[in-house]
Symmetry: C2
Subunit: 337 residues, 2 copies
């Protein structure tokens, strides 16, 4: 194991000088810097991140918290992309990470969780898939022992950043496109349309935003809108569709999983209705062809969130970061490439 000492010896400078070029300190002469960099390359030196973290006390470690309860609006697919994006980005930024599932932390109370995380050198929380039900994780965040970055939860504060798409606009966009296509196929007046909106949780973080979006569209186009809450549950959405879809022309869902539930209900009822989802899960292509959905770039979101985590680590205040979305239609054959 080649250490900083070896590099210093090879370059003929002091250890601290090596440390300084390593950490991009300004006060190093160009000559020294070059010698050090040459030595580093020659020795194939890679700094020991654990030692650095220990010494600096400045815990540059990001705790990645993932919601394993994949019955939530995002499935494993989203979680994997979140993870991949966050891990990749963190490595590019030379930030250490430590990954947890919510369930691993929930067994302890907030103070224990906090102590445990500190003992692991954690300096900032990066939370994916938080919902109102996750009391334990929320309590941890509320303790304010760590700055936090929340993904897909439009809540920010002094030491809390949030990263995600603009929920209101996204819901508006996908619903508008879906309804326009519906009109195109079936002709008729948008204002005579009967639309069912299956929202998420009644008191959810994102649900309010998305519902605002659909209401804005309803006001604009003049269609009649009925809102029900599916709690992001495939089963509940299926149940709602089973009883309510007969007298509705278009069914718009606040998540792909709920849309899938609706599609299965329609199949059972042998009913044909226009449906759209939200999230951009590949799973959609398996469950129903040609359904519109808001496509979120989970990987990109995770990268932005990781960058944001670094800012928070440096003491910057919390803010809201928007990531662009798009509206697409999934086709099975495109999907399996």
């Amino acid at each position: 194991m080649v250490s900083i000492k070896d590099v210093a010896a090879k370059a003929g400078v002091a250890i601290s000088t090596v440390s300084k070029v390593l950490n991009h300190y300004p006060n190093v002469s160009a000559a020294s810097k070059e010698k050090v960099q040459a030595a580093i390359k020659e020795l194939n030196y890679i700094p020991n991140s654990m030692a650095a973290a220990l010494s600096s006390k400045r815990s540059a470690r990001i705790a990645i918290l993932i919601n394993s309860a994949s019955s939530y609006q995002t499935g494993d697919e989203a979680n994997m992309q979140y993870l991949s994006g966050a891990l990749n980005c963190a490595r590019e930024l030379s930030l250490d990470t430590i990954t947890f599932f919510f369930s691993m932390l929930e067994e302890r109370n907030a103070e224990e969780m906090s102590r445990y995380l500190k003992s692991q050198g954690v300096g900032v929380l990066l939370v994916f898939g938080l919902s109102r039900e996750d009391r334990a994780i929320r309590a941890l965040i509320d303790r304010n022992d760590f700055p936090a970055v929340l993904v897909d939860v439009p809540l920010s504060g002094e030491r809390i950043s949030s990263v995600g798409i603009d929920e209101e606009v996204a819901q508006y966009d996908v619903a508008r496109k879906t309804i326009q296509e519906h009109i195109g196929k079936n002709s008729g007046d948008p204002s005579s349309l009967r639309v069912l909106y299956i929202a998420g949780n009644g008191n959810g973080y994102t649900t309010a935003e998305r519902t605002k979006g659909i209401r804005r569209l309803s006001d604009e186009l003049g269609f009649s809108l009925s809102v029900r809450y599916g709690d992001f549950s495939e089963k509940k959405a299926r149940g709602i569709a089973l009883v309510a879809s007969a007298e509705r022309d278009v069914i718009i869902c606040a998540s792909d999983l709920m849309a899938i539930g609706v599609l299965n209900a329609l199949k059972e009822l042998k009913l044909s209705r226009t449906v759209c989802g939200f999230g951009g899960l590949r799973l959609m292509a398996y469950a129903g062809n040609g359904i519109n959905t808001v496509k979120e770039d989970f990987e990109l979101i995770a990268r932005k969130a990781t960058e944001e985590a670094r800012y928070m680590l440096n003491g910057e205040p919390g803010k809201r970061v928007y990531v662009p979305h798009s509206v697409t239609k999934y086709q099975y054959l495109d999907m399996i490439n």
Copy 2:
């Protein structure tokens, strides 16, 4: 941050004594041990794992390597369960982990990868979803700088353990059950059956085993068996089924994803055939109801693998660990609970 020093002071002993009880050393008096443990509890002390790793040089850190190319036989679903199982088990065993996707490592050559991992304090590799195509990761393992645990790859050696189900028996079991059910429904003689087996990679690790299983069954029951290679690709399996399923009664696939491809081909052909899969993905329930599949308990497999990683860390030799499998039939409504 409460450190070992505080504990020692509180307990009225030396730092080294605390360290000894922490690491379960034998030579500590019962009296001291009790005092120390009391102090630990009182102060809510949690050892700093980074400092411990740095000091002991004995890197108890497990590198979890995950194959992000989810086009492989296992999807995101399996990967998430692998991760969850491994992370949970590691924490229970107080082992540090660091998670990578194959793609994060592949950009470097084997020696660089090895150095990088060492600088991160990695002591053992825990590899999920390795295939023959992953040259870079294989090269890393072959360097023998780290002991390794391979999941679902029946290959073991001096410093390589493998964990997984018995592929041969599993393929035999699921095919047998499927064929028995087919006979039950359609009556007739098994020996007159025409069976298509869509295997994985021609030179894959597991493919040989599974193919052995189906051949054993074919020999036993006397049905005619045609073997094709789908490379674990949904698309290829679909292509094979498109041309070959007309004159086959039963189609047995070496992965769920391929079975899904087959189901979609059959739907397109408006053909009804008995199909079975392998892996136990929930996705099956979306793509086709009531299909038999080998159910692998990914979480359990990951836990066993993590335990195995700990043994390897302690210098134990590599071995093959078998995890039980089961045969189930997925139903959509059961699945969405």
